[in-house]
Subunit: 159 residues, 2 copies
């Protein structure tokens, strides 16, 4: 199976590593990890046995969660690169929050195969990025999503 | 705390009660339950300790999941009523799948209080319903969502 070797989430400071979707310190979470694949971004995830809509199909809320965290991670890794950094250098990456999330469910998503979220990132404004994502199960496009992510306001970090 | 007494998910046939979001038979799932509140629909949920974005705030993917299942449940309970049935009668309700899900995150959602999803349901077509949802933490509107739900195609049930 393909693997994301260098993921932006690996370098978030500990204080920001508790996200249920993509925080490496959240034991019960999904541990989504987002890296580069050429000029696109990629997150790979194996749904757990309980992540069902119906037996045999993946839960839509999990797909939405994947698109959400893949979106903020893709925005973060892109701004990190724009700032002159690559994952693995040890520089602290920017952190984003989701302003809006749109998901179109195109086909029932089969359970039991890895899901790949492939993202294209566009800068709308230095603090506002749009990530368009396609979710594949094997080679079948099952869902399409769009996330508008904004640089995390300081009000979050102060809590 | 408020409670949904009669929920549409309580009456889904066993084969359709495995959804990670709203299936009563999915042990590890969220067990979202959707009922009437006047002419609106309501789903109440207490996020678990691990459902964090950052410490103190609820994970956006969970909010998206809540809006998703609240949407399909609201469509189902509405079509059930249109078909002349109320929850609790024992008639088998219709089942919906999500065609599209849109979420706007308006404010950071505080963790530690029950979330209430309140829905308004509109019939677009006998097999296609739109549910507009507001998610409140205490009295604060934190997110707004829209689900287009369609009557479950028979291809799902055959698997």
């Amino acid at each position: 199976m393909d693997e994301v070797v260098k993921a932006i989430q690996d370098e978030y400071p500990d204080d920001f590593a508790w996200c249920y979707g993509c925080g490496r310190l959240n034991e019960g979470g999904h541990h989504f990890r987002t890296g580069w694949q050429g000029e696109q971004t990629i997150t790979i995830y194996n749904p757990s046995p309980e992540h069902l809509a119906l037996p045999g199909f993946v839960y839509g809320g999990l797909i939405a969660s994947l698109i959400d965290c893949h979106g903020t991670g893709s925005a973060a890794i892109s701004l990190h690169r724009k700032n002159g950094h690559e994952v693995g250098e040890g520089a602290e990456p920017p952190r984003f929050v989701t302003a809006s999330l749109n998901v179109e469910f195109l086909k029932p998503t089969p359970h039991g195969v890895p899901l790949k979220a492939i993202g294209n990132v566009e800068e709308i404004h230095p603090k506002k990025w749009k990530v368009t994502t396609e979710v594949y199960a094997n080679d079948t496009l099952c869902a399409r999503g769009e996330v508008v992510a904004v640089v995390m306001p300081s009000t979050f970090a102060n809590k």
